[in-house]
């Protein structure tokens, strides 16, 4: 669907595991890597990358769902609508006019939405891009017929685990770590900056408390709004928080 193809890139970047994966699984339809394509299915497992963003996606995703035993959405686009879902907060014409001379030619939907808004999804892998470790864990779990061990914990726990000093407490840098689900291993705080939420909200995230903390730190309200309305800004918890600051 609509994406930057980076999450497929993560699969191709499993350099040490790729040949083993290809040995354990028959990869039958992967246009980015092979010109031997199997359109028809049925498929045991399908990984879907990208958001539902164009009229043809609506039909395509239903057809894919019908042919798939297990449907996994991978990445921020497929699970939250992606960065292109920023257009959902305005009028499509406003965005299209800025980019296109003849926007009336565009075959696009008014909104960019997650796959789960349209069909039943069995597993979601979050992240922009997804984490290699979580992808391998999910594929292994499906192969072994067990539940994947992918935790719903905040990024803060990763910082504590790796001994990364809190950028918000120590340096006053705004950070979405408390409300973002871990997956990346806290790379942003490790590199001296705040988390920008690219894995999306953790379940039960208290976004309101974090937003209040940011306001108390003297961060302008419009900046608080923008920090929630970013890579995964259309994910429910982040969306509601940004709307609160309009």
């Amino acid at each position: 669907m609509a994406s930057c193809s980076g999450c497929q890139g993560v699969l191709v970047s499993c350099e040490d595991e790729l040949l083993a994966i290809a040995g354990a699984i028959d990869i039958v339809h992967f246009p980015e890597a092979s010109s031997r394509l199997a359109e028809e299915g049925p498929f045991d497992v399908v990984l879907v990358e990208g958001s539902i963003s164009a009229p043809e996606h609506l039909e395509q995703i239903k057809a894919i769902r019908e042919r798939s035993a297990v449907l996994v959405t991978v990445g921020a686009c497929a699970t939250s609508g992606g960065i292109q879902a920023l257009r959902n907060f305005g009028k499509l014409e406003d965005f299209a006019d800025r980019v296109y001379v003849r926007p009336d030619y565009l075959a696009t939907l008014e909104t960019s939405t997650p796959v789960a808004d349209h069909v039943k999804v069995d597993y979601e892998l979050r992240g922009c891009p997804i984490a290699k470790r979580q992808l391998l864990e999910l594929l292994t779990a499906i192969l072994k017929g067990r539940r994947p061990e992918i935790r719903n914990e905040s990024l803060c726990l990763a910082c504590k685990r790796y001994g990364v000093v809190c950028v918000m407490v120590a340096h006053g840098i705004p950070c979405l770590g408390p409300v973002t689900v871990n997956g990346c291993g806290a790379i942003c705080p490790s590199l001296g900056r705040g988390c920008y939420g690219c894995f999306g909200p953790k379940e039960g995230a208290n976004t309101q408390a974090l937003a209040q903390r940011m306001l108390d730190m003297g961060i302008p309200r419009e900046e608080v709004l923008r920090s929630f309305r970013f890579i995964t800004g259309y994910a429910e918890a982040f969306r509601e928080e940004s709307v609160r600051h309009e």
Binding site: C4, G6, Q8, S34, R102, C184, I187
Partner: protein, 443 residues
Amino acid sequence: MSEVTREAPDSGVGGTRTFRVEMLTRVEGEGRFLLRVKDGEVEEATLTIFEPPRFFEGFLVGRSLFEVPDITARICGICPVTYQMTSAQALERILGIHPTAEIRRLRRLMYCAEWIESHALHVFVLHAPDFLGYHSALEMAKDHGPLVEMALRMKKAGNTLLEILGGRAIHPVSARVGGFTKTPRPRRLKSHLPELEWGLEAAREAVEVLNGLPMLGFEQPYTFVSLDGGSEYPIDWGEQIAVTGREPVPVEEFENVFLETQVPRSPALHARLPDGTPYLTGPMARLSLFPDKLHPLAQEALERTGMAVPVLNPYRSIVVRGVELVQAFADAVDIIREYEGADPPYLEAPLRAGEGMAATEAPRGLQYQRHRIDDAGHILESRIVPPTSQNQARIEADLVGLAQEILPLGDAEATLRCEQLIRAYDPCISCATHFLKLEIERE
């Protein structure tokens, strides 16, 4: 997915032959192509991109300039570094920030890492199967295991370098306006030297393997366009753009010289020079315009191939990418050997309104960005021109040129040669669509 239709009885060169691939594979993003030949004359040659638009220039408006590198990275999962770094440079020009020499070396190192990762993927995983007769690198691995393993190890060497510099290989997080959020300790970077030194040797040997691949003899009169990297091979920085046989173009003049025009029968914008000439950016352009700027080891690798420069056969781009792999590894090794830390990691300057442009070289070609901001640092207007949209007119011209060569071939073989030609440009369709004027024919 390849499909060849004949709309008239086969009578040698007579009748209409249509070569069509409904879904181009082993390219980044989704596209298709069509070549229609009637009585030996090309009626139509189109490369169509059918990825949906994502409106990046639209939603950049109103964002803070500090958010721009993280946003533009998301245009492309294969060359995010080029996007975020070109953004940073354009915005630094507005604020009058001149990054330190140390920061500039680290930036070049990060480009090298992306070039290694992207070229190793394209050359061995996406393109080589065409030359050796396989559908994919995974199939190829059954007969050419060591070659595929070497390619994956090279790719990983690039990815690991990106992880050290930016936390992760795809959409790294350390780039910022003014420099890096944090720079690596010398010891950490130097720990990766042995793997890069291995990669350098492996790349030098690989050039000879690539040079021995069977390929079609097919030359085109290219107008090449490449960043001019000053004393260095064009990668991460430059003030002007070189054009075959013409005056160099200052980066600020980019939009006056490289024009995007709409072609009635095609959904995409085509970039051309003002006189209508299509041009080519990317590895063949860089190497053909600046062979003397190659690293001595890359120059040596080039000489051993015996390849004439300028390189005019697009199928040979796979060898050129091999030479550029040597370049990227050699540059990376040199930069890390000399690295003693970069402190401060970034420079700052007061916000001010203005407009700034920058151009750098993605693995697949020249990328240009212009941003305009208000005095609070909010984006008022952005313009981003990726390499694939610039190459599209040239790709189509090449398909027209190829038609005469492939007519004597069988249908399947002819279609494969078209696909292989398109892959030779390493088209990045996700990049191209962020701005394409998409027009769907409704029947």
